[in-house]
Symmetry: C2
Subunit: 191 residues, 2 copies
Amino acid sequence: MKRSLGAKTLAMPSPVWLVGTYDTAGKPNLMTAAWGEICCSKPPCVAVSLRRATYSYAAIEARKAFTISIPSEHQARMADFVGIESGKDVDKYAVCRLAPVRSDLVDAPYVAETPLVLECRLLHTLEIGLHTLFVGEILDVKAEESVIGEKGKPDIEKVQPMIYDAAGQRYYGIGRTLGRAFCIGSGLNQE
Amino acid sequence: MKRSLGAKTLAMPSPVWLVGTYDTAGKPNLMTAAWGEICCSKPPCVAVSLRRATYSYAAIEARKAFTISIPSEHQARMADFVGIESGKDVDKYAVCRLAPVRSDLVDAPYVAETPLVLECRLLHTLEIGLHTLFVGEILDVKAEESVIGEKGKPDIEKVQPMIYDAAGQRYYGIGRTLGRAFCIGSGLNQE
């Protein structure tokens, strides 16, 4: 039996990503975003949804670029701090002892210390309400050598990305493997 | 040291959601989507990105509605099957022994057997490339009584949502708790 919980943002799971930008003065900024997704395969695109009130919003609008740095679960405290404070008040890179790396491809910095980063050129801006959805074309993905697995792709068990649970306001790690996609369900209609 | 992997959709983690629609004849359909996110808090909205070639694409366009049914990890084979087959060829509800429930709020069905469902009214359509991003306003969230935890919210450890790893093409469960959001990082600048 299902109970109605009302009109709420209770989907799960959400990612924990760090959005990197330069502000108008050229200072590197960083914010934590849980409202984000891959949103297109060709061209490869990622979407992140930000409130207009964030310091990063104006930076993306001005520079037409952002990066996504994907933290590992051992970086949970850092990722949470980056989500609490505003770049208006704090140099988050300095406090968290992170090195901003200037992208060669887009006008935005990424975090040297995270295992996986995406460099994105702003493609679309969609005003929805409290949040604005930014679609960025992924121009490159960079991964630490230590997290690259089979076939030259990042191994999720080495990246150890975080999950945000919006219902319980907690972070989680990745759990056990449930099986191969496009494989474990095949033949279900033969049974 | 980071290695460049090229322009690829290698962000992680992604969700595993089932998108419910009625086709033009009124037949309930279902597809699996990993490109999706919460994209706005007010109004509460969710985005899913679908290829135009999918059977569900035309259904969303026609009915201006869709649901998101969030499967639990024990439903991994079913979720994978729903992602492999097309509603053009197969009645996925029948094969998977799922009951489509007609939403009272929007012109779309949801899955009776999944622990958590979102009923959505189409708000925006953004053509990006191979994928189109649909933004739906969440009119209600419904949860099985058995997964509702503290404060009347769905407990992620009871829902046990799946994670899709696009890099390795595998599904994963939720792992260990890493700590409270807006809490574990506070005070990092005092250390």
